[in-house]
């Protein structure tokens, strides 16, 4: 497995947020993690990214144990619910940020950022500051900033939750295209049933600190706890 999580446990004071989570994910696949607010899904992503420390368990990436490696050395990008563009940098510099950290030559930075702006249809916005662009554009810049450093794993924590329905649908489509184009391996956290089904190659459900991965979308739909059946029933009875 490209990503292997073994018996992760996390406590905040006396509250067990993650009980015992283990799973594996193949390269170039997206795993959707569906769950209600407070079920521990964001904490799980933060542990994998290295910005939270687990109480027990290990994280393996490409068969290497990264549990004790600092987040800045893991090369795993965490995308927050909000785009979190750096307010003091323009669109170009926001996308170039990871490359500047890696001290790439200016010409290379320029070329890579230009290409990324092109792929994200943001070519005309490169000089704009974050407050001058729309929510959807901000989220695209955040994607570009993550993708440009070519991370082996991307963690997306409800990245479209703050967008309106229309922009959200556009972004979901864009993500699918990008994921295919850049061969992305990702964990996609959401509390939206439809989004979980749309975005993931594999789907899982997290509840009370436990994660269950479904073998197929059919199994996911048929499981009572995921709420798909009651959703279908609701629309049929309307």
């Amino acid at each position: 497995m490209f990503l292997q999580i073994n018996h992760i446990q996390k406590k905040y004071k006396d509250k067990l947020v993650i009980q015992d989570v283990s799973f594996g994910l193949e390269a170039h696949q997206t795993l959707s993690i569906l769950g209600k607010s407070g079920c521990g899904k964001s904490t799980l992503l933060k542990i994998i990214a290295g910005i939270e420390e687990q109480n027990k368990g290990d994280v393996f990436l490409n068969e290497k144990n990264i549990s004790n490696i600092n987040s800045n050395e893991r090369n795993i990008v965490y995308l927050f619910q909000e785009p979190l563009l750096f307010p003091n940098l323009n669109v170009f510099e926001n996308i170039a940020f990871g490359l500047r950290i890696r001290k790439l030559a200016s010409a290379d930075v320029e070329q890579k950022v230009e290409q990324m702006l092109e792929s994200l249809e943001l070519k005309d916005h490169d000089k704009k500051m974050p407050h001058q662009i729309s929510g959807g554009q901000k989220q695209r810049v955040a994607f570009g900033r993550a993708l440009i450093i070519n991370p082996p794993l991307i963690l997306l924590d409800e990245p479209f939750s703050s967008l309106d329905v229309e922009t959200r649908a556009t972004m979901q489509q864009l993500y699918k295209t990008i994921a295919k184009k850049f061969n992305i391996t990702a964990l996609f956290v959401t509390h939206d049933l439809k989004e979980a089904l749309l975005m993931g190659d594999k789907i899982s459900y997290m509840d009370k600190g436990l994660l269950e991965i479904f073998d197929s979308k059919k199994d996911f739909i048929e499981a009572d706890k995921t709420g798909v059946k009651s959703e279908i029933e609701f629309w049929n009875n309307l």
């Binding site: 910005i51 600092n70 800045n72 050395e73 927050f80 979190l84 750096f86 003091n88 990871g98 950290i101």
Partner: protein, 259 residues
């Protein structure tokens, strides 16, 4: 022009006049001599006060310099230390208790606080010198700076730091490239506030300084107790000069930048 607009303009003018009139009066007094009741205007306008105080033993220039050195040092140390300390307090598990401690120097009046500290300052040979006064004023300005910056270290800033980290940047890289530029305006405002705290400080300075360190504020009080209103006015003019320059700087650079 609407009536409301006219009223607002009048109110603004009245406010401006009430701020500017005392300053003009101070300058007027500083160039005056022999102004006795019931004369409406002074008998003489002269540069004598200014030249005496600066060149003939008035010792205003050294006081001005000492005040400037003390205030700039206090503002610099308090702002830098406060900015860094507030981060550790904001993310600490005993955040509330630690913040409570920072309010302690303000629970007492500066004079009482200085008297409490005097024993330790004497033991460390920090009375009657500039270093001692800087340290004493830092005891007030540093907690102020910590309180000032605590609100800055919120969840969003933490997320920016985490994001930089997952993009491969170190804590110091995040600090230099993201946190500092975001906090720049706040840092300048805090520097300005700490400068003012130090610049106008009297109680702590007179007790810890033993009257040996004659800051501009101490000088003003001396002239007032000597009933020399002309010299007192002159020192006041000098006292308000740096804050006015800082205020202008604040308006020109920080507010315009924020816009």
């Amino acid at each position: 022009m609407s009536t409301t607009f006219k009223k607002r303009n009048i109110l603004l003018w009245l406010l401006a006049i009430s701020f500017i009139t005392p300053i003009i009066t101070l300058f007027f007094l500083s160039f005056s001599k022999n102004w006795r009741f019931p004369a409406i205007l002074p008998q003489q306008f002269t540069f004598e006060n200014w030249s005496y105080l600066f060149f003939s033993g008035g010792n205003i220039a050294p006081s001005f310099l000492i005040s400037l050195v003390i205030a700039l040092s206090v503002a610099l140390f308090a702002t830098l230390l406060g900015f860094i300390t507030s981060k550790y307090i904001a993310y600490h598990k005993y955040r509330k208790k630690l913040l409570m401690l920072t309010y302690f120097p303000f629970a007492l009046s500066p004079v009482i606080f200085a008297l409490c500290l005097k024993y330790y300052f004497i033991k460390m040979s920090l009375t009657g010198n500039v270093q001692g006064i800087i340290l004493a004023q830092l005891i007030i300005a540093f907690p102020y700076s910590v309180i000032f910056f605590t609100g800055f270290w919120n969840q969003r800033i933490k997320q920016y730091e985490d994001l930089v980290s997952t993009l491969g940047g170190t804590t110091s890289y995040a600090f230099r490239k993201i946190v500092m530029p975001i906090a720049k305006s706040l840092i300048l405002v805090c520097f300005f506030q700490c400068f003012l705290i130090s610049w106008f400080e009297f109680g702590l300075t007179s007790i810890i300084g033993y009257g040996k360190v004659e800051t501009l504020t101490i000088k003003v009080y001396q002239f007032i107790t000597e009933a020399n209103i002309f010299y007192a006015a002159l020192s006041c003019c000098l006292l308000i000069l740096p804050p006015v320059i800082l205020l202008w700087f604040n308006k020109k650079f920080i507010i315009q930048q924020a816009k």
